[in-house]
């Protein structure tokens, strides 16, 4: 279980998070919703160790990981797929993927990991020799998720995976996210697209101005009139 307990964080004098708590069960799928600037990405970055949290604790499977270095957190199985197109553009698809195995590099055979990624994303296999910078937006998103899978995540943190993708691609991507969850990977999903995020999630949190405004089962949230008005549109 991944537990975030009342963490606060700020950028200089700007408060980004105030006493945020949330929890993702092993094998669970949870979404974190909210408007731009609500603190969703900051929450993920605190968990990943990119941004230090000023107060509060972060625990993973009983261990206190607050203040750990990023690579130790990744080694524990908490892997973030950042927002945007954060690839190694001049390296090939295959090279981008193989770098995901960095922390397990002593084990020579990464065949099973490659197979798993190519099974989720057959498109990547077709383009494996191509430089990542030449991929389409959807393929780049797949490659970022694939690269994270190579690091053997127990908890996969996805930051706005639907950003900039066509509705059809978003639908396909979320089918794969649901499949990864069925295959046993716990997922913490940050999204502005609340509708599609709630449709695959078991539980949801809604952030507003750096605080948790509401939380509950995904089904209950999607039926909540307040959530409906603010995030799901008419």
């Amino acid at each position: 279980m991944l537990e975030v307990q009342t963490i606060s964080a700020s950028y200089g004098s700007v408060r980004a998070l105030e006493a945020v708590s949330l929890q993702v069960d092993a094998g669970g799928i949870v979404c974190l919703l909210g408007a731009n600037g609500a603190g969703k990405s900051t929450t993920l970055n605190c968990i990943s160790g990119v941004v230090p949290s000023a107060r509060g604790r972060i625990r993973c499977d009983g261990r206190d990981i607050t203040g750990w270095a990023i690579e130790r957190i990744v080694a524990l199985g908490i892997v973030q797929v950042p927002e945007g197109r954060e690839l190694f553009p001049a390296l090939s698809v295959e090279e981008n993927l193989v770098l995901g195995t960095w922390l397990h590099r002593r084990q020579r055979n990464h065949g099973p990991e490659f197979e798993r990624v190519y099974e989720y994303f057959p498109r990547l296999k077709e383009r494996r020799k191509q430089a990542a910078g030449f991929l389409s937006g959807g393929e780049q998103q797949m490659l970022m998720i694939g690269r994270a899978l190579m690091a053997r995540p127990k908890y996969l943190l996805l930051d706005e995976p639907s950003l900039g993708l066509s509705p059809l691609l978003v639908q396909q991507l979320f089918e794969i996210i649901a499949r990864m969850h069925r295959d046993g990977i716990a997922i913490l999903l940050v999204e502005q697209n609340a509708k599609v995020a709630l449709s695959v999630s078991e539980y949801g949190y809604i952030l507003e101005n750096g605080e948790v405004r509401l939380h509950g089962r995904a089904k209950a949230l999607s039926e909540d009139p307040e959530v409906h008005a603010a995030y799901l549109g008419a």
């Binding site: 950028y11 200089g12 990943s48 990119v50 270095a69 990023i70 690579e71 990744v74 080694a75 892997v79 973030q80 797929v81 950042p82 954060e86 690839l87 190694f88 553009p89 001049a90 390296l91 090279e95 981008n96 193989v98 770098l99 995901g100 195995t101 960095w102 922390l103 590099r105 970022m144 690269r147 994270a148 190579m150 690091a151």
Partner: protein
């Protein structure tokens, strides 16, 4: 006339290979950390002195001197990053750029290295590094080359081949490239970005030091021999400064142009060559002779 032209070109290629090694060192650091290393010349200089120390004081054979210089140079480069640059980055506030301060720190590095070499008693007299292979010069048709010249070309080419294979075929090499292309993404899959940056500084220092050993027998060994770095800067600018194969060619171009200037204009104009080349390239073709369009640097 033709013969002296061919001779000038051939010896230009020889020195150009050594400049290319230094240019690679500069560009490697620039590409992965955005820092322009003004201490690069002094890394060349300590390479020469380390080899001389290994040969004369420790009594190692030449191969041992290369290894000794490489190991110590790596440690100097990596230590500079860890002790100075890493701390500067660590103390910067989010969003604040310390790049200018880091570049100035490399100027500091150059003075520290020069000063250190001056206080070592061993360096008081001006010496020349023994050539790698003594013996009669070699005739290639009408061109005369010293055995040292051939050694310079062969070793420089081997080093570049090794460097290329390392960055393309090993996981560590790929991780180093990944870190320079996108440090944030590299960190998020567990690549230790700080250790990678240190490694790049170490490898870059090795390349500069190797050039120092190769040039040592051709130049006089003095604590000021690092001024040869201006030729490497010119080579890197000719190559486009982010284009690694380009800066190797740039090194060779510089070596040849320097000799042609000596042959056709005046031997006193040789020292001006790199400055004129830098100015001409920056004015006429700022992306370098081998680059494509002007690349706007990432912020």
């Amino acid at each position: 006339m033709l013969i002296s032209l061919l001779q000038a070109i051939a010896s230009g290629v020889v020195t150009g290979c050594a400049y290319a090694l230094v240019a690679l060192s500069l560009v490697m650091i620039y590409k992965s950390t955005d820092v322009i290393n003004f201490g690069g010349g002094e890394m060349v200089m300590i390479g020469g002195y380390l080899a001389m120390f290994a040969l004369l004081a420790i009594g190692l054979p030449y191969a041992g001197a290369f290894v000794f210089a490489a190991v110590v140079a790596f440690m100097v480069g990596a230590a500079f990053d860890r002790v100075v640059l890493d701390r500067m980055l660590g103390r910067a506030l989010p969003g604040q750029s310390v790049l200018v301060a880091m570049v100035i720190a490399t100027v500091g590095l150059s003075y520290v290295l020069k000063g250190l070499v001056r206080v070592v008693p061993y360096t008081e007299e001006v010496r020349r590094l023994a050539p790698l292979f003594a013996g009669d010069p070699v005739f290639l048709g009408p061109i005369i080359l010293q055995r040292q010249d051939i050694a310079i070309v062969v070793i420089a080419v081997l080093l570049m081949r090794a460097w290329w294979a390392f960055f393309n075929f090993t996981l560590l090499g790929k991780a180093l490239r990944a870190t320079s292309q996108n440090p944030r993404a590299a960190a998020l899959i567990g690549i230790p970005v700080r250790a990678m940056r240190m490694t790049i500084w170490g490898i870059a220092a090795i390349f500069a030091a190797m050039a120092g050993i190769l040039l040592g027998p051709k130049l006089l060994m003095t604590p000021d021999m690092g001024s040869v770095v201006i030729l490497a800067f010119a080579a890197a600018i000719v190559g486009g400064f982010h284009n690694l194969p380009g800066c190797i060619l740039g090194g060779v171009v510089l070596g040849v142009v320097q000799n042609l200037v000596g042959l056709y204009i005046s031997s006193r104009a040789i020292v001006l060559t790199p400055f004129v080349v830098i100015m001409l390239v920056l004015v006429l073709r700022p992306q370098g002779l081998f680059g494509g369009a002007v690349v706007t640097k990432k912020v």
